[in-house]
Amino acid sequence: MKHSILAFEVCARMDQTPGLHAALMGRLRAHPPNASFQQKWQYHAETSATLLAHLGAFELGCWDYFDDDTRAQADFKMWVNGMLSEEGARPGPLGGDPYRGEPRYLTYTMAFLMAQGSPTDMIVRQVCNIPEPHLWARASFQRILSNINQLSFSSIKGDVAYVIPRDPTWALTQQDLREPKFHYLRRIT
């Protein structure tokens, strides 16, 4: 079976998105270890709806769709390793209240390894067929989020989802986001 991948990540200031971090963490923690298609769909549909409610607050983000099999598998592994290696996480807490003072940030990441050529892949391909000038447009992120509920998990081989940070005191700073490891995040216009 050949694969394709959809990856999506957004970054928002926590004080501009009250309730978002708690909602994302709550949904992720509630996700059962063993999940049915319906449970997978419900998790991602509800999470995407939550993100859409805060669409205007996202400052940075990126998304990718590939239907090259080798690339899709390698990229999925890369996104997973990004989580396992905790690469994006701070090495320690900064302390303080992330909702006051210096801006503090959260990121939410999701990636789907799909069966290439499946109807779900076709939907995603269509959704992601976005002209280059609009790649970083807020409307493009909205378009993708709005269509996550079109995914059928019977043709998704694996998915990964993570929130940075888990604990609010470990929230990212502007300085953190300026590090090279976050350069893939682009300003959403």
């Binding site: 079976m1 992720l28 996700h31 270890p33 063993n34 999940a35 049915s36 298609f37 449970q39 990126c62 998304w63 990718d64 769709y65 590939f66 239907d67 090259d68 690339r71 592994k77 890369m78 996104w79 390793n81 989580m83 396992l84 905790e86 690469e87 996480a89 090495p91 807490p93 990441t109 069966a115 290439q116 050529g117 499946s118 109807p119 779900t120 076709m122 391909r125 992601c128 067929n129 976005i130 002209p131 609009h134 790649l135 970083w136 079109q150 059928s152 998990f153 043709s155 998704i156 081989k157 694996g158 998915d159 990964v160 989802a161 993570y162 929130v163 888990r166 604990d167 490891k181 682009r186």
Partner: protein, 448 residues
């Protein structure tokens, strides 16, 4: 941390990170790798696809699939002729919303409605020449896709006829080509040279050249493709050039003598290099010249192949090698002519002469002795085309024998990869290799 697998819960969490700085997990759907287990389900889906296709459009089809059991490759990749796809699904199939780029040109005000008559205005006026005319390109501006209703709603709503994206253009190269052609046409005025021209210049210049000839020759346009935002052949430039010269082509056609000889007009970029399915749309095509017998029936004895410069004068494009060999075998004399041999007769002059001088102007019919020279020539330009004759060459586009039957073409030539439903054959969309806001190969995460 792998969890036991249960068929009712096909996704198993096989990685979990629960640290203060990050919380996340990966879930894995191992059963999806068991392709044998998918067969029965895939058959069921095929049935659903068939039923859905019978009762609804593409959007509904996808919605049905998305909300149903959805396993395995129920779509497959096939290649389809680019032009056919465009006729069925729109000139910008797979690239709705992407703009045509008219860089480096002058845009002029015009009435888009005038393009309705472009195919007629650009048509040859001689009834004997009309069977060879290809109006393909000129039909594109107002074409309505025949199957667009089967595409998703956003594709239908996003589609705009080509005329809305088109504007006339003229470039310095076109203006020069026009003047060169006028210089050539002037030489043939009042002469029965029994010649047919084959103009093989880059699209916009070919159109301009045809316009410059149009009072003395009957242009027979052979542009057999449509523009596309990712087109390998920038046919929109050719079309925009035709829009610019449309009034002139129409008026010249009305004034032209019915006996004017034919000038077959080709886009020299029709075989442009094609590299990437994802970034390019293969709207290339091979030339369709009249057979030798047809030219002879028109009274043609000489074929003059017009190329940009002397560098191109010794060899024709690969796709017309067999045609030219056939012409030669039938007794037609084939020679080439570098268009740049026509230059201003005097500095700053808009009158172009063969060899760029009044002293070489009349050398033309010494180099091509098909009619008496109109005067004396004291200069002879260096012309690599006057001694040209076609030589047999076996290429990706030619047999090297002059055969008139099926000719070779590179695999996939002029076709586009698309995805179709396995069960129904319905076109699901263009195949793209990637899209995204950032190419992760450039850096970022170090994993993988």
């Amino acid at each position: 941390m792998t969890q036991p697998h249960d068929s009712s819960t096909p996704f198993t969490r096989d990685a979990l990170v629960d640290k203060p700085g990050i919380h996340g997990a990966r879930w894995w759907h191992q059963a999806l790798e068991d392709r044998g287990a998918q067969v029965a389900r895939r058959t069921a889906i095929r049935g659903m696809l068939l039923a859905a296709a019978a009762i609804a459009g593409f959007g509904t089809l996808l919605a049905v699939c998305a909300n149903s059991l959805d396993t395995g490759p129920d779509a497959k990749e096939v290649r389809k002729t680019a032009l056919q796809l465009q006729r069925e699904f729109g000139w910008n199939f797979g690239a709705v919303g992407e703009a045509l780029v008219f860089d480096g040109t002058r845009a002029l005000p015009y009435k888009p409605a005038s393009l309705v008559t472009l195919a007629t205005d650009a048509a040859p006026k001689s009834a004997a020449h009309q069977p060879f005319y290809l109006r393909t390109l000129f039909e594109a501006p107002y074409a309505r896709p025949t199957l667009i209703a089967t595409l998703p709603a956003e594709e239908i709503q996003g589609f705009q006829p080509l005329f809305t994206a088109l504007r006339p253009m003229v470039t310095p190269a076109m203006e020069t080509a026009y003047l060169r052609a006028q210089g050539l046409a002037a030489l043939f005025a009042d002469k029965d040279a029994k010649v047919a021209l084959v103009v093989d210049l880059p699209g916009p210049e070919a159109v301009a050249f045809a316009a410059g000839l149009a009072h003395a020759f009957d242009p027979v346009m052979l542009f057999d493709n449509w523009p596309h935002p990712r087109g390998v052949v920038r046919a929109h430039h050719t079309l925009a050039a035709a829009a610019y010269y449309q009034p002139l082509l129409a008026s010249a056609g009305a004034e032209r003598a019915p006996s004017a000889p034919p000038a077959f007009v080709l886009d020299r970029d029709r075989l442009a290099t094609y590299i990437d399915d994802a970034k390019q749309f293969d709207n290339r095509y091979a030339a369709k010249l009249p057979p030798a017998a047809a030219l002879k029936a028109l009274g043609v004895l000489h074929v003059l192949y017009v190329v940009p410069t002397g560098a191109e004068a010794r060899m024709e494009k690969d796709d017309i090698n067999d045609d030219f060999l056939a012409y030669a075998a039938a007794g037609l004399e084939v020679r080439s002519l570098p268009a740049n041999l026509f230059a201003p007769m005097h500095a700053g002059d808009e009158t172009y002469a063969y060899g760029g001088s009044p002293d070489s102007q009349h050398a033309f019919f010494l180099d091509y002795p098909w009619a008496p020279p109109g005067g004396t020539a004291t200069l002879r330009p260096g012309n690599l085309g006057k001694d040209y004759t076609p030589r047999a060459r076996r290429t990706s586009f030619s047999t090297g024998t002059g055969a008139t039957g099926n000719r070779p073409r590179p695999t996939g030539f002029g076709t586009v990869p698309i995805m179709v439903a396995v069960g129904t054959g319905a076109v699901l969309g263009a195949r793209h290799s990637r899209s995204g806001s950032w190419n992760r190969s450039s850096g970022g995460w170090g994993g993988g």
